[in-house]
């Protein structure tokens, strides 16, 4: 079920009313309702793949229980390894089987040998990369004794399949989300209202910004050979707005929806395009994934504790794996590698934590230096997005080569004024609210209700009147 669909418009109020009015007597029944609603939400797409979530949930629940019963190191390691192998195995099969098959086949061909291997027609279950990481965080934390294993299987199953963030995150840690299923949840007016505002902003980002930008990004990327460098540069910028609007919009809707049910999810995007360097960008972009890799991969690998070589190696590993997580294509790996290259100089010069505050804090405008830093970071990021969006590496290089050619100074073929107007408006609103959790947060505001309502009506009207053609959320494919 898509957040921007009529089905969800009916589903959400029904679950909301049942949750607070019918199942509100007992925590267990509320959790059970969330579990059932989550399975309906997921099964709406393809009910057959529910079996995968249920299997992963059963396995990790039992492994958690078994871990609580043994202190024997080898046994604990075996249990953890089983969880990792099975979960990553599912992910590997559904997402990477054909990629590895083709890559090996190409490699053998390159060395003059041939192997016969048949591609499988595999459907990628929606959200598998997200819930796999979420459930893995549970077994790893239980193994590390950071978290007590749960004996409440309904709470655990609901945690794994929690519908607002099931298919595209934020990837929640068991240490944050699971305990919220143990404690009774009280309806909070301010939280629910702010949740609705965040949902509205997420819909605006998705439908007005991402879907409109997608239209032009798709046209330009799909026929890039026909266009000048200036048009391709514009296409890359459109894609940068598409992916940000799409993914952060989904996260906003997910977080806002969770708040309606009394849950708090982590912030997933913190206005990343206002970052002053790449290190700051990665602290602000897809935070739940970056921190997941930091905690469960980078630190266990030794992090930055060793010498320079260890730092370089671990940085590359984390960025390459992060790229590969996004998709079974070399383009994603190159995208990850490029970001590692951007990041490395900052880390080696010990400048990767220079910008930890909000840009232009307590000021309305950024300084010229900050503007330059923001634009440079955005440009670097957008160049990397070309690899992310391109069909293959050759396509990406040809695309970039045309951008950095004299045709960059020609008039672009497209210049959709309405879309660009909304993109600029969007940047201005996000800039004004950059120290908040989301751009429509009005905590302790003195703005009269009438003015706020008018603002919401305008946003709704803009969504209806200027929304682009409905597109699936990009991150569903990951």
């Amino acid at each position: 079920m898509l957040f921007n669909s009529l089905e969800f418009l009916i589903f959400l109020p029904v679950v909301f009313i049942l949750y607070w009015y019918v199942f509100n007597k007992k925590l267990k029944s509320q959790n059970l309702l969330i579990l059932l609603a989550s399975y309906v939400f997921y099964g709406w797409w393809d009910w057959r793949f529910l079996s995968l979530i249920i299997f992963s949930s059963i396995l990790d629940f039992l492994i958690g229980v078994s871990l609580s019963k043994t202190e024997e190191v080898s046994k604990r390691k075996l249990l953890l390894t089983t969880s990792i192998l099975v979960n990553i195995g599912f992910l590997g099969f559904f997402k990477y089987y054909n990629f590895f098959l083709e890559s090996f086949s190409d490699a053998f061909t390159f060395f003059g040998a041939t192997i016969s291997a048949e591609r499988l027609n595999i459907i990628l279950p929606v959200g598998i990369s997200f819930y796999t990481f979420q459930t893995l965080s549970y077994t790893i934390d239980v193994y590390k004794k950071k978290l007590e294993p749960t004996k409440d299987f309904i709470a655990f199953f609901a945690f794994v399949s929690f519908f607002p963030q099931l298919v595209a995150g934020p990837i929640e840690r068991a240490t944050n989300l699971l305990p919220q299923f143990y404690t009774s949840r009280k309806f909070e007016y301010a939280k629910a209202v702010d949740g609705l505002r965040q949902i509205l902003w997420g819909l605006f980002k998705k439908i007005v910004i991402a879907d409109n930008a997608a239209k032009f990004a798709n046209i330009i990327f799909n026929s890039s050979a026909e266009y000048s460098g200036s048009t391709l540069a514009l296409g890359a910028v459109f894609f940068a707005f598409q992916i940000y609007g799409d993914f952060s919009g989904y996260s906003d809707i997910a977080i806002g929806t969770s708040r309606l049910f009394g849950f708090n999810l982590m912030q997933n995007f913190a206005f990343p395009y206002f970052s002053r360097d790449i290190a700051e960008f990665w602290r602000r972009w897809h935070i739940s994934l970056s921190t997941w890799f930091r905690d469960y991969l980078y630190i266990p690998l030794g992090g930055s504790r060793g010498g320079t070589w260890m730092k370089v190696k671990n940085t590359f590993i984390i960025f390459l794996v992060s790229g590969f997580w996004h998709g079974a294509n070399w383009t994603f790996i190159v995208w990850g590698g490029l970001n590692a290259l951007y990041f490395l100089p900052l880390m080696l010069l010990n400048k990767n934590r220079t910008h930890t505050n909000v840009v232009a804090e307590n000021r309305m405008f950024a300084s010229i230096k900050e503007v330059f830093q923001i634009l440079l970071t955005f440009t670097l990021t957008t160049i990397a997005w070309v690899f992310f969006r391109a069909e293959n590496i050759g396509h990406a290089f040809a695309y970039l080569a045309e951008i950095f050619s004299p045709s960059l100074f020609e008039m672009p073929r497209f210049f959709p004024l309405t879309v660009i107007f909304f993109m600029i408006l969007f940047v201005i609103i996000e800039w004004l609210q950059r120290d908040k959790q989301h751009a429509l947060e009005f905590k302790n505001t003195k703005m009269p209700r009438l003015v706020r309502f008018a603002l919401y009506y305008i946003l709704i009207a803009v969504i209806f009147l200027f929304g682009g053609q409905q597109q699936e959320f990009i991150y569903f494919q990951f």
Binding site: W20, Y456, F464
Partner: protein, 308 residues
């Protein structure tokens, strides 16, 4: 919770009123479809020829040029799927019906849905969408038939139309027919002609519906013949320059399909596709104007008289 629901209600009520307003307006506006269906039912006992098809037929078959009582039930982008279902829905009431003209253009066999126009056919003609569930059919113009953006633009255009001095086509339908006046500006530039041809090429290239539509058309022909009604295929001309841009593979396939139908069911095909040299008969590169409709409707009448 009560405070939340109260605030939400206060917020939603104006939205609900606006939505309802749009819905009522869209359902009650006097569309071409409403005019056509009203005209059809009012003339049940007189109609002898029914002309079907998309906008080429809608703007190109002038019922006034026929000796027999003719009614034009074609409409913009109307597919064979809807041609068949509209006819069969009313066939038992059309006591005098002798001939059904079925328009077969380059792309007729390659589409069945008309996109947003399906909504009007559902609400005004009571013909179900092809691929949507019953539940979704029954909800709303505003939400489902159109995106709200299109719904709003329809309302806006209707309102603005009141203030326009010059119309490009007749505002009322004449026996189901709506003629265009003169020719559209820039319609015959090489670029626009190519663009139009590309539209048809895209329509046929991206389609996998040919076989299904052909079978559906065959069934339609069989059902008409069972009732002693003569189906006649017809193809109105497009402006000559467009043909060179059409994909030959599909043009040939279309000719083959028409030949197949002609032979298998012994039916006529009135083919005027080679007669599109006179630009003054066209509104744009693929639609006849009022004058062109008169010329070719007379030709259709002459061809028909040969069969009588």
């Amino acid at each position: 919770m009560k405070r939340f629901l109260k605030t939400l209600l206060i917020f939603i009520i104006p939205l609900g009123i606006v939505t309802l307003g749009f819905e009522v307006y869209l359902r009650t506006m006097n569309t071409e479809y409403k005019q056509k269906i009203t005209g059809l039912t009012a003339n049940y006992s007189d109609i002898e020829i029914l002309a079907l098809g998309n906008s080429h037929a809608y703007n190109g078959v002038d019922p006034r040029q026929f000796d027999l009582e003719t009614y034009n039930m074609a409409a913009g982008n109307q597919s064979l799927y809807f041609d068949k279902r509209i006819t069969l829905k009313h066939i038992d009431s059309l006591k005098k019906l002798k001939y059904v003209f079925i328009s077969v253009d380059q792309h007729s066999l390659y589409f069945s849905s008309q996109g947003i126009r399906d909504t009007w056919l559902y609400y005004d003609y009571d013909i179900k969408y092809k691929d949507k569930t019953e539940f979704w059919n029954d909800i709303s113009h505003f939400w489902l038939g159109y995106t709200p953006r299109i719904a709003v633009s329809i309302v806006k255009d209707k309102v603005l139309d009141q203030f326009k001095e010059k119309q490009s086509h007749s505002e009322t339908v004449i026996k189901g027919f709506m003629p265009h006046y003169g020719s559209a500006a820039n319609a015959f530039t090489a670029k626009n002609i190519e663009r139009k041809a590309n539209f048809f090429n895209g329509e046929v290239k991206d389609s996998n519906e040919r076989e299904e539509n052909l079978a559906d058309l065959e069934d339609f022909i069989v059902q008409l013949k069972k009732r002693d009604i003569t189906p006649i295929l017809f193809t109105l001309p497009m402006y000559n320059d467009i043909y060179g841009h059409l994909l030959k593979e599909y043009v040939d396939q279309n000719n083959e399909d028409i030949q197949y139908l002609k032979q298998k069911y012994s039916i006529q095909h009135f083919d005027f596709s080679n007669e599109g040299e006179d630009q003054s008969l066209f509104y744009n590169s693929d639609h006849l104007n009022g004058k062109g409709a008169e010329v070719f409707s007379k030709k259709m009448n002459t061809e028909l008289k040969k069969l009588l």
